[in-house]
């Protein structure tokens, strides 16, 4: 699906270029580089309609891939959407530009618990877009035994019935949680400890997919797996067979943010876009299409009771959740380990 998404992004890009010509006199294009299945078309179109600023939308499916494309000399983007640990990393490497909060008054719409977080004190560089968790999705028609945690998913009897996020760091964190290791304590010793178990897990997975796992679950290609909460929430709305479980061993709570790369040549428009996203009625559209945890208090008020009651979007018992921290060079070890296990 990744490539399909890229294809769509390319098509949208073409459409964007086309529009670019018709309104060439008005404004340069805003280059948005964001997660696949995350920014609704109507939100982007709404921004262009209101401001005359054309937007092109290119997608990625891991933070690390985004970073690789952001490297100096690569394509120029005006808005990126890194998760919490990646924001921390980008700030350290001075790859993101400081925000002018005076131009983003709608920041006050965010719930206090999503402002001024440890990875970016004072929201100097980042504004939360959506939040969510990484947890277990189960097709209750196919999986009858209770599944409470990662260890229940990666069992021999579910071999080749499992879907997993295609994300090295995520998968390592599941193994860490299972072995009782703190998910941010990424050291060569800890990686060595989980290696044999991960080797088995990798073999049990039928599909690695981060962009669109719900399509594969709904067609019964796989029966259970580990997905983003927004995907799970949408799936549960469509199909009552599915259930979302936060792993008992502990899980990753992520916060995806909007940031402006240091190299952006269109920072004013980028801040305009961030402020637009923070409007309650715009943020609500995002929740309608991609039901992650909305950090926007004013937008949450606009949601239906049903949306707010979806246990994947708004887990009643927050449980044992943790943000990722920047692990710096240890990321290299994670990448080498996972590449070896999948090879």
């Amino acid at each position: 699906m990744k490539h399909l998404c890229l294809l769509f992004a390319f098509a949208i890009c073409l459409a964007g270029c086309h529009r670019d010509k018709s309104s060439a006199a008005t404004a340069p294009t805003l280059h948005l580089f964001a997660w696949s299945e995350y920014v609704p078309r109507e939100v982007i179109d709404g921004f262009t309609k209101e401001t005359g600023i054309p937007v092109d939308y290119e997608v990625y499916d891991t933070n690390e891939k985004m970073l690789a494309k952001l490297a100096p000399g690569s394509a120029q983007y005006d808005i990126i959407q890194p998760s919490e640990y990646m924001v921390e990393h980008l700030i350290k490497r001075k790859m993101v530009a400081p925000l002018d909060l005076a131009q983003i008054p709608n920041l006050s719409n965010l719930l206090p618990e999503f402002r001024n977080l440890a990875y970016d004190p004072g929201n100097q560089y980042s504004v939360p877009y959506m939040s969510g968790t990484v947890g277990i999705i189960i097709n209750t028609d196919k999986v009858k035994e209770p599944v409470r945690g990662y260890a229940d998913v990666f069992q021999e009897k579910y071999r080749k019935r499992i879907i997993a996020l295609e994300d090295n760091r995520e998968m390592v964190s599941w193994a860490f949680a299972t072995r009782g290791i703190a998910i941010n304590d990424v050291t060569p010793e800890n990686l060595a400890k989980v290696k044999p178990m991960l080797r088995e897990w990798v073999k049990m997975v039928k599909l690695f997919n981060s962009d669109d796992p719900k399509a594969l679950l709904i067609r019964d290609e796989v029966d259970l797996g580990i997905v983003y909460s927004g995907e799970a929430a949408k799936l549960m709305d469509q199909d009552k067979r599915f259930k979302y479980v936060l792993p008992a061993e502990g899980a990753h709570r992520f916060i995806d943010n909007l940031c402006i790369p240091a190299g952006s040549k269109n920072k004013g428009a980028a801040m305009q876009f961030i402020n637009y996203i923070l409007r309650p009625e715009v943020s609500k559209i995002i929740s309608d299409r991609f039901p992650y945890t909305n950090p926007n208090a004013a937008a949450r008020k606009l949601l239906s009771d049903g949306q707010r009651a979806n246990p994947a979007s708004y887990p009643p018992d927050a449980g044992n959740l943790e943000l990722f921290r920047d692990i710096g060079k240890a990321n290299a070890d994670v990448s080498v380990l996972m590449t070896e296990l999948r090879s």
Partner: protein, 293 residues
Amino acid sequence: MTSTTLASPQSTRRPGWRAWVAFSPLLVWLAAFVVVPTGMLFVYSFFKNAGYSEVERVFTLGNYALAFSPDYLGNFARSTAYAGLTTILCALIGYPVAYHIGRAPAGRRNRLLMLIMIPFMTSFLIRTFAWTTILDHQGVLNTLLRALQIIPVLLNDKFEVLHTPAAVMIVLVYTYLPFMILPVYGSVEKLDESLLEAASDLGAGPARTFVRVVLPLTMPGVGAGVLMVFVPAVAMFAVTHVMSGGTVYLIGDVIEDQFGSGGNLPFGSALGMVLLVGFIATFFLFTRREKTT
């Protein structure tokens, strides 16, 4: 590939300055997009990985040591096996097709060639995704097999092609088949009719004529086809990822990941260099053997 195209007597003449002018766009293109990037890969392959697509500019052979460790040697072997099987299947399927087209009357020949070329007019990725709708377990193939009662009766209700190694093979063969057909067609078309008549006059049956006359004379085309299929197939990544759902993880996928999620440029570069040396060796092996036969 070389023996058929370069053997004409004109090629022994030294090119004049006009030829070099005509040639210069290609030289610039090769320098900018082949020589320079390859040089960069070569240099990067000796740097140290610092994670997150960063490198430490310190000399190390560690990337090559890792590339030649058992896990990756196994991966190289598996990638070669996939590409080898693709090449064999392409040759087995492509040869009769190319022969048929090459021996057809001129007008029909062009129409048949068009049929081979038409798929090239659509995007390669779109064609690959089209296969997912055919091979999906609720897709065209399975619906057909179910309607014919083959799946429930003969296959015990268990039949899945998409997201298996078989799906990868099917689409690899589909993708590279024209690259086998076209060069073989080229040498079939050049077959001298009088040689076939001579063989028949001298008492050789059709089978014998084919084995002793046609096959040796079309071998250069097959050789070119083998190179054109095998070399890109070893390093293919999009097809493997889409058709296997990320579980058939061949060397092309490994390399792609090093420049994306893996963020390990030096290791990706080292693997790329190893592949490149492998390709050059394969190429020389082939052209040498063609000359000796």
